[in-house]
């Protein structure tokens, strides 16, 4: 990645688009402190990504392509584990299960769930952390219409609480209405950064497809 | 003449003197005969090996603490030399043991501990080589260098107490079980090998620095 510079204010949603291998996931993982920048730096709500990595992790939740769940544990147990690891042992697991529509399968092992259900579980694990920075990497995979609405609900909830959301996705049409700004990447470099209002649907499609 | 070359010259000189004294000037042992001369190579080898691993430990701690590449180069070089001299110690020990005690190997505590040391530090080098990311490899090797060094005394005593069958060390604190002329030869050899080690360490560390692209932060 090179020359990526931006400032994301609170209460806003950033849409990151670009073709495969453009660096979308790398950017999100850098913000999540899963990767260290070799050059340059960043901060999340005032905490440096490298020096204050732990403070960043308190504020951040990252839902990536890897599940982060345990096949042999039930949905409920997975969620309870995530809550405990986030130091919220009293989090109302049942309420969260209900919110993401997983109550019917609460006591089934994750092994038997469909990919959409697993994605909902991953979203629930992030949501219960009440993050101030929510990072979603291709969140719509396997989700039905209700699942997509769930992502929108999460996004709205996070921004309403004063946080921000960064969504990297190919399915930019879903986020267009919620996004405040867009960052288009190609081969690790930005080709477009700006408020979403300035860009037309055609621009976004072109950027997402990498034809720029 | 640079400091490094000077050091090398001193090492060669000392080795020459020590070799002369060990092989010719010092007397043969009453019991072991001429074979005692192998001791003048074996003991310094073992001493240098332990010295090398002590340096590895210190350099590893410093590297993990400060993360300066120079410490890693030092640790790497010291580990390599340590493995070399440990191998030599085991070899000379074996060669010495055969005519004197009739066996190539005795399950003596120090030999077993030295063999364990050899394995631990060889593995540190392996880990370095088998890591995809050289920085991570350096970090992991440092961890092994630290754990290994701290463990060796415990390994040593557990091996000693497990099978109590060994020759008491010749230079025990407060008592000298070795005749003065032989002691001189031994001390000279120790000094010569130590200086040689220092020279090789310096040489290898410079090489490591060059290999890494000459970065010295």
């Amino acid at each position: 990645m090179r020359d990526v510079t931006f400032v994301l204010p609170p209460h806003s949603v950033l849409l990151v688009v670009g073709p495969n291998a453009s660096g979308k996931t790398t950017l999100l993982r850098l913000l999540a402190t899963a990767l260290r920048p070799t050059d340059g730096g960043g901060s999340v709500f005032g905490h440096d990504l490298v020096r204050d990595a732990d403070a960043v992790r308190v504020l951040t939740a990252f839902v990536g392509t890897s599940a982060g769940t345990y096949d042999l544990l039930t949905v409920r147990e997975n969620l309870a584990f995530a809550a405990a690891m986030r130091c919220r042992p009293d989090a109302p697991v049942a309420t969260w299960l209900d919110r993401v529509g997983l109550t019917p399968v609460a006591d089934d092992p994750v092994r038997v769930l469909s990919s959409g259900m697993k994605r909902r579980l991953a979203l629930a694990q992030a949501w219960l952390a009440a993050p101030r920075l929510l990072l979603l990497d291709e969140p719509y995979g396997g989700l039905d219409r209700d699942g997509v609405a769930l992502v929108a609900e999460m996004t709205e909830d996070t921004t309403r609480r004063g946080g921000s959301v960064v969504i990297a996705t190919h399915e930019w049409e879903r986020v267009m209405n919620e996004a405040d700004a867009v960052l288009a990447l190609a081969a690790g470099q930005p080709v477009e950064v700006g408020p979403v209002a300035q860009l037309t649907a055609a621009d976004l499609a072109a950027a997402a497809g990498g034809r720029r | 003449m640079t400091a490094q070359t000077g050091l090398g010259a001193v090492a060669v000189l000392l080795l020459g003197v020590a070799a002369y004294v060990s092989l010719f000037a010092s007397p043969p042992d009453a019991f072991q005969g001429e074979y005692v001369r192998i001791m003048y190579a074996h003991v310094p080898n073992a001493w240098v090996a332990y010295l090398a691993f002590a340096i590895t430990f210190a350099a590893s701690v410093l590297y993990l603490w400060k993360r300066r590449p120079a410490y890693d180069h030092l640790a790497h070089s010291a580990t390599e030399l340590g493995v070399l001299f440990t191998g030599l110690a085991l070899l000379t020990g074996s060669i010495w043991g055969r005519p004197v005690w009739g066996t190539w190997w005795t399950w003596d505590a120090r030999l077993v501990t030295t063999a364990m040391l050899f394995l631990i530090y060889t593995t540190a080098l392996l880990v370095r080589g088998l890591s995809d990311d050289p920085l991570r490899g350096a970090r992991l090797a440092a961890v092994i260098g630290i754990v290994g060094f701290l463990d060796v005394p415990i390994i040593h005593y557990s091996v000693v107490w497990f099978r109590t069958l060994h020759q008491p060390a010749s230079i025990a604190p407060g008592s000298l079980k070795i005749a003065p002329p032989m002691l001189l030869a031994l001390m000279l050899s120790l000094l010569a090998f130590t200086v040689l080690f220092m020279y090789l360490l310096r040489l290898r560390t410079s090489l490591a620095r060059l290999e890494a692209g000459g970065e010295m932060r």
């Binding site: 345990y70 995530a82 | 970090r139």
Partner: protein, 219 residues
């Protein structure tokens, strides 16, 4: 306070996953059984040999079981998520170490029973002492093992490295447990061996968690 909570959550999770899958305990148990049978047959099944064979088998079983501590996370693609939870990674260390200790202790109990049957040694009367000594050794094995499990995670040739690293480093545990087990079974003095095991445990406990954080530095 939070640390204890997180460590306990990790331990509970590891044990629960293990209970439902029984992968580690099966692999280690089978290997230990095989080693005991093999050694018992080849080296001799006199009661005097029992302690040594037991602990050599435990050592090799540990070599196979310990990588599971971290490999399990990688297989589930859960490692990154685990490392990104806020809080010190030392908590992860203690949770996993505790779970490993429980698993190896369970294995020990099973092997002691086997020993009683196959070697004709009286494990029943001395059961408490044997398990006590065993756990003292297992704690040391688990502490250093958890560190090594993290260390070999990103190195090629993991399976080869684990025995090369664990067995020399944990040699005092094996030697100490052999002598202490023998002492209990024959009713002789324990000598300095408890001190050896305790020193090993103390040094490992002081050093390994810190080094674990260094090793798990990057995801």
């Amino acid at each position: 306070m939070n640390g204890f909570l997180r460590a306990a959550a990790v331990a509970r999770k590891d044990l629960r996953v293990e209970w439902r899958g029984r992968q580690t305990i099966t692999a280690t148990g089978m290997v230990a059984l095989l080693m005991i049978l093999l050694l018992g047959f080849v080296v001799g099944s006199e009661p005097a040999r029992a302690a040594a064979i037991l602990w050599v088998a435990m050592g090799f079983a540990a070599v196979l079981g310990i990588p599971r501590v971290t490999q399990g996370e990688v297989d589930q693609q859960a490692l990154e998520t685990l490392l990104l939870y806020p809080g010190s990674r030392e908590h992860l260390f203690w949770g996993k170490c505790a779970a490993l200790t429980v698993m190896l202790s369970a294995l020990l109990v099973a092997l002691l029973v086997l020993l009683g049957v196959l070697f004709g040694v009286d494990v029943w009367d001395h059961g408490g002492a044997l398990v006590g000594v065993g756990v003292l050794g297992i704690v040391g094995l688990s502490v250093i093992g958890t560190l090594l499990a993290a260390l070999v995670l990103h190195v090629r040739g993991r399976e080869l490295l684990m025995p090369l690293l664990l067995l020399p480093l944990a040699l005092p545990v094996v030697l100490g447990c052999v002598r202490l087990t023998e002492a209990i079974l024959t009713g002789t003095a324990a000598g300095l061996w408890p001190a050896v095991l305790v020193s090993f445990d103390v040094v490992s406990v002081l050093v390994c968690p810190i080094l674990f954080e260094v090793v798990m530095d990057e995801v």
